[in-house]
């Protein structure tokens, strides 16, 4: 269990996870999507629920639940289709390609084992398109990293954005 690791082992694991997340983000920003797909587990669940403004009393209902409406609710086949569309099908939304930059921070090892652990991180995804279009999305991610051999595979990515009304014309980037 992660909780039973001593400080030294925990720091090593923290370093390993952070470096993996940074490298993964770099693949997306460098548009190396096929290599990014190679980091995913066969059973990945990539999900971004909807969020809504609620009163302080109703914040338990801020996010929609799995199975209800979401912006993303994808398995590996769907993510492959998104990559196929972006890279090989000249979509209007991504050709000319967006320029993106992922900022990943506040990485925390939550629970699990050395073999499979949940990891929280904050993300700021900046996108600019064409001459002057700019979008910026900020949120929290809850990932599950699974060790396969001496590598990690991403088995879950749940993304919780701060925006309730999405202020961009589309969401055609990977978070």
């Amino acid at each position: 269990m992660l909780a039973s690791l001593d400080t030294d082992a925990r720091m090593r694991l923290q370093f390993e996870v952070e470096q993996w997340l940074y490298a993964e983000a770099a693949l997306l920003d460098e548009r190396r999507y096929d290599e990014w797909l190679g980091l995913l587990a066969d059973d990945i669940h990539y999900w971004m629920p909807l969020r809504r403004t609620t009163t302080a009393r109703e914040t338990a209902n801020e996010f929609t639940q799995p199975g209800d409406m979401a912006f993303f609710d994808d398995d590996l086949a769907m993510l492959k289709m998104r990559v196929q569309k972006t890279t090989k099908a000249n979509p209007w939304a991504e050709d000319p390609p967006s320029r993106t930059r992922h900022f990943v921070s506040n990485v925390r090892l939550l629970e699990g084992t050395q073999a499979e652990m949940s990891v929280a991180s904050n993300i700021h995804l900046y996108r600019t398109r064409l001459e002057s279009e700019e979008d910026s999305w900020i949120g929290r991610r809850e990932d599950v990293l699974r060790r396969v051999g001496d590598e990690f595979r991403l088995a879950q990515r749940h993304i919780f954005l701060e925006q309730t009304l999405i202020l961009s014309q589309n969401l055609s980037s990977i978070f």
Binding site: M48, P49, L50, R52, T64, Q65, G67, D68, M69, A70, F71, F72, D73, D74, M78, M81, R82, Q84, K85, K88, A89, N90, P91, W92, A93, T164, L165, I166, L167, S168, Q169, N170, L171, S172
Partner: protein, 333 residues
């Protein structure tokens, strides 16, 4: 909770009881009416009654949702904002010319087939006050074949996919939808800005936020009798086709923005848009009380929407609109 002003802090001390409380309540919805569970309200006491506003085409648009069965809304309304004029988004729902161009990437990625996005048999239904239905339709013969096929198990016997049209085989559906409505597989637009999408499983409101900005609100509906798998099939299709991350809608927004931007150019702004496809080349068909235009890809729905919009904008008052709006087209169109 009827909107009256009940109390004012400091009424005596600050206002010296000199306040017309009876006339400071909330503005009341002047008229509220319901059609098949859809609640409509207007703040205008002079507005025409709902039943007149909807007409048979508006009612049919709602029937194409309500007649599927007892419906419920899936939790969560997708909302996003696009820098386009709202009428371009409405225009787009009637348009079966753009899919092969706008959505070629979704076809190439294997998300949807070319045949489903570019059906040759088109049926347009135009209603008074601007309602319209455009998109695929099936022939009388084809509908009869489907009816024969579907005289089998009902959904509750677990033999129907989420997007099956088997519900149209019942006598009740035929009576409610009428001889033309039962054959429509198109996209209704409840004038001015409610799109009935995904075969009646989604509604999209196109809410103007000024001339250059539109908010899209996606509601998703499922039949209460659906199995968990069928419900999942609808929700997955809704998420993967429409909304800001949908493989179809990702590209629509991009094009609406640039069309809006281009229309503001000094020269382009003065040039008329062309909506001539099939104009003068089709004939309105009548079956009982219902009318349709059965043709190939066309621009009848778009043109009708703009024409009716102009009539609404020009009308001095409701009486003027009621007297002078265009009747349903007949004959050559």
């Amino acid at each position: 909770m009827d909107g009256r002003l009940l109390a004012v802090p400091g009424l005596d001390k600050y206002y010296e009881n000199d306040l017309d409380i009876d006339n400071l309540g909330l503005a009341r919805a002047a008229q509220v009416d319901i059609y098949r569970g859809f609640v409509f309200a207007t703040l205008d006491p002079e507005a025409i009654p709902l039943v007149d506003f909807l007409g048979w085409v508006g009612r049919l648009s709602i029937d194409l949702v309500a007649e599927r069965g007892e419906m419920e809304v899936v939790d969560g309304i997708q909302k996003n904002r696009i820098q386009c004029n709202w009428k371009l988004a409405v225009d787009n729902l009637f348009d079966w010319y753009h899919p092969k161009v706008s959505h070629l990437s979704a076809i190439r990625a294997g998300a949807i087939t070319e045949e489903s996005l570019f059906p040759m048999d088109q049926m347009v239904i135009l209603g008074e006050y601007g309602h319209g239905i455009g998109g695929p339709g099936v022939s009388v013969d084809r509908q009869a074949q489907m009816d024969a096929k579907y005289q089998g198990p009902r959904r509750d016997e677990g033999n129907r996919g989420a997007f099956s049209n088997a519900w149209r085989a019942s006598d009740k559906a035929k009576e409610q939808l009428g001889p033309i409505g039962i054959r429509s597989r198109g996209h209704p637009n409840l004038f001015p800005n409610v799109w009935v999408a995904l075969g009646g499983n989604q509604l999209c409101l196109r809410i103007p936020k000024g001339p250059l900005e539109t908010e899209l609100w996606w509601f998703t509906l499922v039949e209460k009798s659906m199995s968990a798998e069928e419900r999942r099939e609808v929700v997955q299709a809704a998420i993967h086709f429409f909304g800001p991350a949908g493989l179809l809608e990702q590209d629509d927004g991009e094009n609406w923005i640039h069309s809006t931007r281009t229309s503001r150019g000094t020269v382009t702004g003065e040039r008329a848009s062309n909506f001539s496809m099939r104009q003068g080349h089709d004939t309105v068909y009548q079956d009982g009380e219902q009318k349709s235009i059965e043709t190939v890809v066309n621009e009848h729905g778009q043109l009708w929407t703009y024409r009716c919009w102009e009539e609404w904008m020009r009308a001095k008052d409701w009486d003027d609109l009621a007297r002078n709006h265009s009747p349903e087209p007949t004959g050559k169109i």
